[in-house]
C-alpha cells in the first residue's frame, strides 16, 4: 500500500513525513524522524514510555497511527527543555534522583508536565493516579512522586 504524506507540527516545528498506514506515531517518531526519546516498552499502551502530547492531550504514541497525526501538533520529550534551560520537572527529577535506568523517564516527564498544566497543585494521590499508566521498575515511584510534587510547588511560586 502506498505511503501517506503527513504534515504535522512537532515541538513547534513544521514536519512532513511519509508513513505506511500501519505505522504508529511512535514508529514514525523513532524510525522515520529519529526522535528516539519516546521509548517503546510494550507497544500496547500499558507502559507509558512513549507518552507524547497530541493536540494538547496526553497519549501513548504507540496507540496512534502516524497518519492520524495529519494536521496535528505533537510534543515530545525532545521539546521539553528550552535551549539549555531544563523544564522544572527535568531539574527536579535530577535533584530528587527520580530515575535509575532512565528508560521510563521521558514518558514520566511528558505525563507529569501534562498533569501540572491542568492541575498546578496536585495531591500525592492525584499524582499517583495520573501517572498510573507510566510503569517504572527501578524506583518504586517514591522519588518520582516527590519530584513531581516539588516541581509543582516550585512552579506555583514562580
Amino acid at each position: 500500500m502506498a505511503k501517506h504524506h503527513v504534515t504535522t507540527t512537532i515541538n513547534g516545528d513544521p514536519v512532513e513525513f511519509l508513513c505506511a498506514p500501519e505505522q504508529t506515531l511512535l514508529d514514525v517518531l523513532r524510525d522515520v524522524l529519529y526522535l528516539t526519546g519516546s521509548k517503546e516498552g510494550c507497544a500496547s499502551g500499558d507502559c507509558g514510555a512513549c507518552s507524547v502530547m497530541l493536540d494538547g492531550r496526553l497519549v501513548c504514541a504507540c496507540l496512534v497511527l502516524g497518519v492520524e497525526a495529519q494536521g496535528c501538533s505533537v510534543e515530545t520529550i525532545e521539546g521539553m527543555a528550552h535551549g539549555d534551560e531544563l523544564h522544572p520537572l527535568q531539574r527536579k527529577f535530577l535533584e530528587h534522583a527520580a530515575l535509575q535506568c532512565g528508560v521510563c523517564t521521558p514518558g514520566f516527564l511528558v505525563a507529569a508536565k501534562a498533569l501540572l498544566e491542568r492541575n498546578p497543585e496536585p495531591t500525592e494521590t492525584e499524582v499517583r493516579y495520573w501517572l498510573a499508566g507510566n510503569l517504572c521498575r527501578c524506583t518504586g515511584y517514591d522519588k518520582i512522586v516527590r519530584a513531581v510534587l516539588d516541581a509543582a510547588a516550585e512552579m506555583r511560586e514562580s
Binding site: 504508529t24 496507540l63 498510573a132
Partner: protein
C-alpha cells in the same frame, strides 16, 4: 492496509459498505492498534471516524445528552453537566485505562470492541443508554444492552457503525454508580464490574432501578432480577442482600487468567451492594 478519514457519516457508510467486512472502524484505536500489532486482525481498510464532527460532539439539552461515539473519555469527563447528571457513567468511563488511554479511548470503541469486561457498558446499561447506529439503510436507535452479542461480536450489520449515545436527563432523586474489581488500583481489565442506577420517590422508596454487570458472562448483562430487588424498597440491608444475591445468580462467568468463577460470582454481589449504596447516597442528595 489502507487508511481513510471520511468527513461525514454518509461517506463512512459508503466506505464500509464498499469493503464488505474487510474494513475496520477506527475511533480511539486503543483496542484496534493493539490487535493490529499482534496480527489478530488484518483489515484491508481502516476507516477513521474521528474526522466526522458529529461523532466527536457532546451535546446536552432539556431532554438529556448526546455523546458522539468517537469523543474521547477525557473530553467526556470534562463535560460538567454530564458529570453532574450521570456520575456513575462518568466514573465508569474514566476508569478505562490510563490517563494516556483516556486521551484516545471512546465510548463507541469500548462498546463495539465487544469485550464482556468493558467498563463503561454496565454503567451505560444501568443508565438506560440508547445507541444510534448508521448503516446503508439509514440510522436506527437501539438499547445499549442489545449491541454486544458475544465476546468480540455485536449485532451491528455489515456496513453499520455506531454514531453516538443518548442518555435521558435523570429523573429527580436519581443516582447512579459504577464499581469494578481489579487486582491493582489501575491499568487492569475488570474482573467484575457493576453499574447501578436508581430513583427514589419523595418518601425514599425506590421506584426505578437498573443494574448492569460486566465481566461475569459472555456479554455485559442487564439484570432485571437485581433491579427488582431494589424497586419498592428503601434500599435497606435486606434489599441490598437480595440485590447481591440476584447479581451473583445472574453471573455466568468463566475461569480465566483474571479470575475464577467462584470469585466473580461472589464479588458481583459484593460490588452490586456497594454500588447501590453509592447510588442511593447520590439519589438522596438531590
Amino acid at each position: 492496509m489502507d487508511y481513510r478519514s471520511p468527513s461525514s457519516v454518509k461517506k463512512a457508510v459508503d466506505l464500509l459498505a464498499a469493503h464488505d467486512g474487510a474494513a475496520h472502524v477506527l475511533a480511539g484505536g486503543t483496542d484496534l492498534l493493539v490487535k493490529l500489532r499482534a496480527g489478530f486482525v488484518e483489515p484491508k481498510l481502516v476507516v477513521d471516524v474521528k474526522g466526522i464532527a458529529q461523532l466527536r460532539a457532546i451535546e446536552s439539552d432539556a431532554r438529556g445528552f448526546r455523546i458522539g461515539a468517537a469523543a474521547s473519555c477525557a473530553e467526556i469527563g470534562e463535560h460538567a453537566a454530564l458529570v453532574a447528571a450521570w456520575p456513575g457513567v462518568v466514573e465508569a468511563l474514566r476508569l478505562i485505562g490510563s490517563t494516556q488511554i483516556q486521551g484516545r479511548a471512546t465510548l463507541g470503541g469500548n462498546l463495539c470492541n465487544a469485550s464482556p469486561a468493558a467498563d463503561s457498558v454496565p454503567a451505560l446499561i444501568a443508565a438506560g443508554a440508547l445507541c444510534r447506529v448508521a448503516g446503508p439503510s439509514g440510522e436506527r436507535e437501539v438499547p445499549i444492552e442489545r449491541i454486544v452479542t458475544g465476546p468480540g461480536r455485536t449485532s451491528l450489520a455489515r456496513g453499520e457503525f455506531l454514531v453516538g449515545f443518548r442518555l435521558e436527563k435523570p429523573r429527580p432523586r436519581s443516582g447512579d454508580a459504577y464499581l469494578r474489581l481489579i487486582p491493582r488500583t489501575e491499568m487492569d481489565i475488570a474482573v467484575v464490574g457493576v453499574g447501578v442506577a436508581l430513583t427514589l420517590d419523595a418518601a425514599g422508596v425506590c421506584t426505578h432501578a437498573r443494574v448492569g454487570l460486566g465481566a461475569v458472562a459472555p456479554t455485559p448483562l442487564l439484570v432485571a432480577e437485581a433491579a427488582r430487588a431494589l424497586i419498592g424498597s428503601r434500599v435497606d440491608d435486606k434489599a441490598l442482600a437480595a440485590l447481591a444475591a440476584a447479581a451473583s445468580a445472574a453471573c455466568k462467568p468463566i475461569d480465566d487468567k483474571r479470575g475464577t468463577i467462584a470469585y466473580r460470582v461472589k464479588v458481583a454481589g459484593v460490588l452490586a451492594r456497594r454500588a447501590a449504596r453509592i447510588a442511593l447516597a447520590r439519589a438522596a442528595g438531590r
